[in-house]
Symmetry: C2
Subunit: 248 residues, 2 copies
Amino acid sequence: MLKNYKLIIAYDGSNYGGWQVQPNSTSIQELMQKAIETIVRDTITLIGSGRTDAGVHAIGQVAHFKIEKELDLKKFSHSLNGILPIDIRVLHVEQVPLDFHSQRSAKSKIYHYHIHNHPVQNPFKRHYSLHIRDKIDISLLQQAASLFVGKHDFTSFANESHQGCAAKNPVRNILRLDVVQDGDDIRLEFEADGFLYKMVRNIVGTLLEVIKGRRSLDDIPRLLAARDRTQAGQAAPAHALFLHKVKY
Amino acid sequence: MLKNYKLIIAYDGSNYGGWQVQPNSTSIQELMQKAIETIVRDTITLIGSGRTDAGVHAIGQVAHFKIEKELDLKKFSHSLNGILPIDIRVLHVEQVPLDFHSQRSAKSKIYHYHIHNHPVQNPFKRHYSLHIRDKIDISLLQQAASLFVGKHDFTSFANESHQGCAAKNPVRNILRLDVVQDGDDIRLEFEADGFLYKMVRNIVGTLLEVIKGRRSLDDIPRLLAARDRTQAGQAAPAHALFLHKVKY
């Protein structure tokens, strides 16, 4: 009888072309699928909750695959981490009902964007956060962030995918966009029912323009209404973005 | 008139042969000295509070140099960070009295050794902490650590330096060796009036043998009394060690 296995995965995306299989770069999905196939001695299809771009990290990516074989979960997880490179780790494996789908069953996703706000960059954070030298006005950042919360058409903040197609429905519901300050670190916590392609990084790019004084708060509702990608800010760098959790 | 400048420096030691000038590898001291010479257009001697080994990191290394020129501190610090590679950052520069010496004036030094204690390694900590899979008995680790505190002859825990000479006086006073737990992370905080060559890593190596059950607590006073490097544990890996602070 077919069984369905759910994996929770952490990865340092620095050295990869993203989650999804892409030409001319190594994808994490591809590496993991091959590693699983080596262990289970069968072909499988590993489906992730969604792609993360080149350079984006994950603490709690979720994926699933189906197979006839009954797996010894502890042994399987141990073997998989033995095969995988050290910058990709399987944190948890469990058997789930057959109708569980890592992408379609997801209720919401949480992304974190890390900013290090200090006159001098911290060398230990350089691969995992965006360094901003000038003091950020947290209250302004919070006000700007709050304007994105709720159900909106996010066309202005979505890139076309590599396949050249935009999402059929560009409406997403941002449940929260919290600005969390921890000393010199600022974390933007996004939770939404789903995200369009590059949506988090494009929103962060626009928030950065607001805190740098290049845009006013009034621009945000205007940009949302415009439904035109060319009007909003550039995507913020990938290396500071983490897929934190997928909720089911 | 000669002026004395004190620098506080952070560096990711991963890509360097250590603080001190050494043949066949790039030292941080050498890189910094050259960068300073480029800016001040003069030859200087940059003296650090002590060397850190290849691969060891620093959050608060201290160094000083003397020069006739009056420096604009903000401008100098900015130029220096502009020349230095991104994994070395000058956090602070100030003018200090002429008799200040980064090594000789130091009252105590603090080193932190980072352990990640979890069945699966966290990919984001792999360059900066030692991964230990099996659950560590914190109480046992604390008991073992406490046996090193105080004034001891640390010959058993000191390597000969590259120059082939041991320290003339192998007695050091460990003011505290705290075991700080923070979730799955364990931090060993060493504060002493000084450290012999590889002393922190050699002590950690022996502590690891105790928590793995390969040595008993009674071994520690015996090892200290033996004054024989060959009897104590191997040095723990360098990549988990941070020079945290130098107190004056």
